[in-house]
C-alpha cells in the first residue's frame, strides 16, 4: 500500500498553509515534492510524518497512521541541523539510538555510512571543523543511520560541490536499488527529473499539478525544438511561426506547436543547404512546466 496522504489541511490563523494535500506512493522509488519557497512543502512533510498535527486529513504507511512510534522514517530537513560542537560518530550514534537502535548497531551502521560516503577519517572530528559539503553528508547519514523504509529528503543536493554531488547521487541510486520509498523536495528541477517518477507541484499550499512525470510531459506533447547550426536561422524560423525560448552557446531552443512545424523548418533548412549539427524535438522540461503552473497561479 505504501504511503497514502489524504486531504491534509493546515491553517495558521486565517492563512491556509496547506490546502487538501493528497498523494499516493504505491511503489518504491523517488517522489518529487516541488514548489517555490513558502509553498508549504516543509509544513506538508511535517504533517505527513506526524511531527505537526494536521487540522484535517491523514497520512498512513501501509494502512497505519504515521507517527514517530509507528514508523521508522528518515527526514533530512532543508535547514541542516546537527551538533556543531560534537564529534561526528558520537552524534550519529546518538541519532541512531534515538530511533530505537542499540549503541552497538547504531555505531556499526554509522561507520558503514561514513565508509560509503568516504567520511571514515572524520569520525572523531568535531562537525564544526568539517566543510559545508561534508556537514551535509553527516546530516544525510543522521537521516539514514537507522535504515528507514520511508525517507524524506528536503533539498539534498544544495550546497554540494560536483564531486560530493556525484557521491550523493551514488548513494541515492543505492537507496533506490534497495527499494526504499523516498520523497524528495528540491528546487533543482534537473535532479527531480532525473530521479522522480511521480511529482506534485505545490504553490501557496495548493496542489497545482500531480501525477506521473512521464505522462505529464507526454500530455504536453512536443513543444520544444533545439537546433544547433553554423548559420543563423532565426529569420527562417520566425517566418515559419517558431518563437525563440532561449539562446545558448551553440544552440537555440524554439517553441513549436506540433511536430509539423519542426519538420517544416528542417525541410526549409535542407533546401537552403543549411545542415544542423543538432535537431531535437522534445517535450517541455519540468522547469518550464513548473514555471507555467506557478506562473498561472501567481
Amino acid at each position: 500500500m505504501g504511503l497514502v496522504v489524504t486531504n491534509l489541511v493546515k491553517r495558521f490563523g486565517s492563512k491556509v498553509a496547506v490546502d487538501h494535500l493528497s498523494l499516493q506512493m504505491e511503489e518504491p522509488g523517488v517522489f518529487g515534492l516541488i514548489g517555490t519557497n513558502g509553498a508549504g512543502k516543509t509544513t506538508s512533510i511535517r504533517m505527513i510524518l506526524g511531527i505537526m498535527s494536521a487540522d484535517e486529513g491523514s497520512s498512513a504507511w501501509n494502512g497505519t497512521p504515521i507517527s514517530r512510534d509507528t514508523l521508522s522514517f528518515g527526514y533530512m530537513p532543508e535547514e541542516r541541523g546537527i551538533y556543531m560542537k560534537n564529534k561526528v560518530l558520537e552524534q550519529l550514534v546518538y541519532f541512531g539510538m534515538l530511533r530505537g537502535m542499540n549503541r552497538s548497531d547504531a555505531r556499526k551502521s554509522a561507520l558503514s555510512y561514513l565508509e560509503r560516503l568516504g567520511m571514515s577519517e572524520y569520525k572523531d572530528t568535531l562537525v564544526e571543523k568539517l566543510s559545508k559539503g561534508n556537514q551535509q553528508k553527516i546530516q544525510l547519514i543522521a537521516t539514514l543511520v537507522h535504515n528507514p523504509e520511508l525517507i524524506f529528503l528536503d533539498e539534498p543536493f544544495s550546497g554540494l560541490d560536483p564531486v560530493n554531488t556525484e557521491v550523493l547521487r551514488g548513494l541515492l541510486g543505492e537507496l533506490i536499488e534497495e527499494k526504499r520509498y523516498i520523497v524528495m523536495s528540491s528546487h533543482q528541477m534537473g535532479t527531480v527529473e532525473e530521479y522522480c517518477k511521480d511529482i506534485l507541484i505545490l504553490h501557496h499550499g495548493q496542489t497545482k499539478l500531480q501525477g506521473n512525470l512521464r505522462k505529464i510531459k507526454q500530455g504536453y506533447g512536443h513543444t520544444n525544438l533545439v537546433v544547433s547550426c553554423d548559420v543563423n536561422i532565426d529569420e527562417t524560423a520566425a517566418g515559419l511561426g517558431l518563437t525563440v525560448i532561449e539562446k545558448r552557446a551553440g544552440e537555440t531552443e524554439y517553441r513549436i506547436q506540433g511536430d509539423d512545424m519542426a519538420n517544416a523548418l528542417l525541410s526549409h533548412m535542407v533546401s537552403q543547404g543549411f545542415y544542423p549539427t543538432k535537431f531535437e524535438i522534445r517535450e517541455p522540461s519540468l522547469s518550464e512546466i513548473f514555471i507555467e503552473k506557478v506562473g498561472e497561479a501567481s
Partner: protein, 437 residues
C-alpha cells in the same frame, strides 16, 4: 523511556564537557578552599591577637584592677578596657563605685576634667577606652558617655542604670530615708533566663547556605536547560531531533540531565567542602561565639532538603525550557527568560527574608511562602534545619509543589511542542497558549 534515557545521557555528557561547567566548578571549589583557609589562618592568628590585646590592656595600667576584680569575684574575668569617670560637681556621690560594680569587666578610673581633650583623642583611637562625664545642669545631673563608636566601649544602658540607681539612693537618703530602706526601695527583683536547649547557630548558618545554594542551583541549571534548548532550536538541530523523539521526551530528558548534573556538581562541591572543613577548620572554631556543628543536618532532613532541591529545580527547569523553545535567535534568550527570572527572584527574596526574619513564628507571609510552590524551595529547607516546620505544613507544601510541577510540566510540554518548530519573531507569552503543534 528509552528515548528519555538516551537524551538524558547525551545531554549530561555534553553539558559536563562544557568549559563553563568546568570553570564554574573550579571557581566554587576554589572559593570553598579559600574560605576555609582564611578561617584556618585567622583562627590561629586570633589567639595571638587576644594575647596582644591583653598586653595592650596591661600597658594601660588596667592589670591591677583586673586582678582585683578577678580576686573579688573569685573567677576569671577578662578585662575589656578602661572607663574614665569625671564628676567634678559631685552630682552623683558614690557614682564611680556604682559604675565599677555595674561594669565589672572595665576598670573605672577617676578622670581629670582638665584632661578631657586628651581623653577624647585617646578614645577616638582606642575602642577599649570610654569616658563617663557627669555634669550638674539646672539642678539635676546629666551624663555623657564617650566611646569610639556605637559598637565599642561601655554600654550606655548599663551606665544609665547604675548612675540612675545611685542618684535615687542619694536623693532618698537626703530626704531622711535610711540607707537600708533606700536600698530596699531600689531593689530589683532578679530575673534569670534559663535556656533548656543548646543554642546552636549551625541550623541558621546552614539554612542560609542551603537556601543560597538552592537559588544558585535552580537559577544556574535552569538557565542551562534554557540555553541547551535554545541552542538546539536556533542551530536547527531540533529539526533533526523532533523527527526522532517526541518533544515531551526531549524536554524531560534534558531537564533530568541538567538536574542530575547540578546534583553531581553540588555533591562534589559539598564533599570537597566537608574535606576542607575536616582538614582546615579548627576543632574549637566558633561563629559569633557559638560552636558550629552539623547536628541539625540529620539524614531525614537531608532527604527532605534533597527532595526540595529536585522538585524546585524541576519546577523552574520546565518553565525555562519553554523560554528556550520560544526564541529563534540565541541573543533573545535573556529577555525570554525574564518572566521566570522575576518569579524566581521574588520567590527567593520572599522565602529568604521571611525565613531569616520570622524564624519560629507563624506569620501569614511565612505561611504563604511555605505553601506557594515557587517559593517553598527557598524557605522550607531553612526552616527544616531550624526545626520549626510542622509535619502537616511540610506535607502540604510538598504536595502543592508536586501538583504545581505536574500542571506546569503538562502546560510546558504543550507550549514547548508547539513552539519548538516555530521560527521567526520571538513568540509572545499570550501567543504561546494559542499555538498548536
Amino acid at each position: 523511556m528509552k528515548q528519555i534515557w538516551t537524551v538524558f545521557v547525551f545531554t549530561l555528557k555534553d553539558a559536563a564537557r562544557k568549559k563553563a561547567f568546568k570553570i564554574s566548578t573550579f571557581i566554587l571549589l576554589l572559593v570553598i578552599f579559600a574560605a576555609c583557609l582564611i578561617v584556618n589562618l585567622t583562627s590561629s592568628g586570633g589567639e595571638s591577637a587576644e594575647g596582644a590585646a591583653g598586653a595592650t590592656t596591661a600597658g594601660t595600667g588596667a592589670e591591677t584592677a583586673s586582678g582585683a576584680a578577678e580576686e573579688e569575684a573569685g573567677q576569671d574575668i577578662t578585662l575589656e578596657g578602661v572607663c574614665y569617670y569625671i564628676d567634678e560637681d559631685a552630682a552623683i556621690p558614690g557614682g564611680m563605685e556604682a559604675l565599677q560594680a555595674a561594669l565589672p569587666t572595665y576598670q573605672v578610673k577617676q578622670g581629670d576634667a582638665a584632661q578631657l581633650g586628651a581623653y577624647r583623642s585617646e578614645i577616638a583611637e582606642n575602642g577599649e577606652v570610654s569616658l563617663v562625664l557627669v555634669q550638674q545642669t539646672q539642678g539635676s545631673p546629666a551624663v555623657t558617655v564617650v566611646t569610639k563608636d556605637v559598637l565599642s566601649g561601655v554600654n550606655n544602658s548599663d551606665v544609665s542604670d547604675a548612675l540612675n540607681q545611685q542618684y535615687i539612693v542619694n536623693q532618698l537618703e537626703a530626704q531622711g530615708v535610711t540607707g537600708d530602706v533606700a536600698a530596699t526601695l531600689n531593689f530589683e527583683i532578679p530575673v534569670a533566663v534559663e535556656i533548656a536547649g543548646e543554642m546552636d547557630l549551625s541550623g541558621y548558618v546552614l539554612g542560609i547556605v542551603i537556601v543560597m545554594l538552592m537559588f544558585f542551583a535552580i537559577y544556574y541549571y535552569g538557565y542551562g536547560v534554557s540555553m541547551s534548548i535554545a541552542t538546539e532550536k536556533t542551530s536547527r538541530v531540533m529539526e533533526t531531533l523532533v523527527v526522532s523523539a517526541k518533544p515531551s521526551r526531549i524536554l524531560i530528558g534534558k531537564c533530568l540531565a541538567m538536574g542530575a548534573l547540578g546534583l553531581l556538581q553540588m555533591a562534589g562541591v559539598m564533599l570537597f567542602a566537608a574535606l576542607c572543613y575536616h582538614f582546615l577548620i579548627p576543632d574549637n572554631f566558633t561563629l559569633m561565639g557559638m560552636p558550629l556543628s552539623l547536628s541539625s543536618f540529620t539524614l531525614t532532613r537531608a532527604v527532605i532538603i534533597l527532595a526540595y532541591f529536585i522538585l524546585g529545580y524541576a519546577l523552574y527547569a520546565v518553565m525555562n525550557a519553554v523560554c528556550g523553545a520560544s526564541v529563534s535567535k540565541i541573543e533573545d534568550i535573556n529577555s525570554a527568560m525574564m518572566p521566570v527570572v522575576l518569579i524566581a527572584m521574588i520567590s527567593f527574596y520572599l522565602g529568604y527574608f521571611t525565613a531569616i526574619s520570622g524564624s519560629g513564628t507563624d506569620s501569614l507571609l511565612q505561611q504563604i511562602a511555605i505553601y506557594v510552590p515557587f517559593c517553598s524551595p527557598f524557605i522550607v529547607p531553612f526552616k527544616i534545619l531550624n526545626g520549626d516546620v510542622a509535619t502537616m505544613d511540610l506535607i502540604l507544601s510538598l504536595a502543592a509543589l508536586v501538583v504545581a510541577i505536574v500542571l506546569i510540566t503538562a502546560l510546558s510540554i504543550r507550549i514547548y511542542t508547539a513552539s519548538v518548530l516555530h521560527y521567526g519573531s520571538r513568540i509572545k507569552l499570550k501567543d504561546m497558549f494559542k499555538l498548536r503543534a
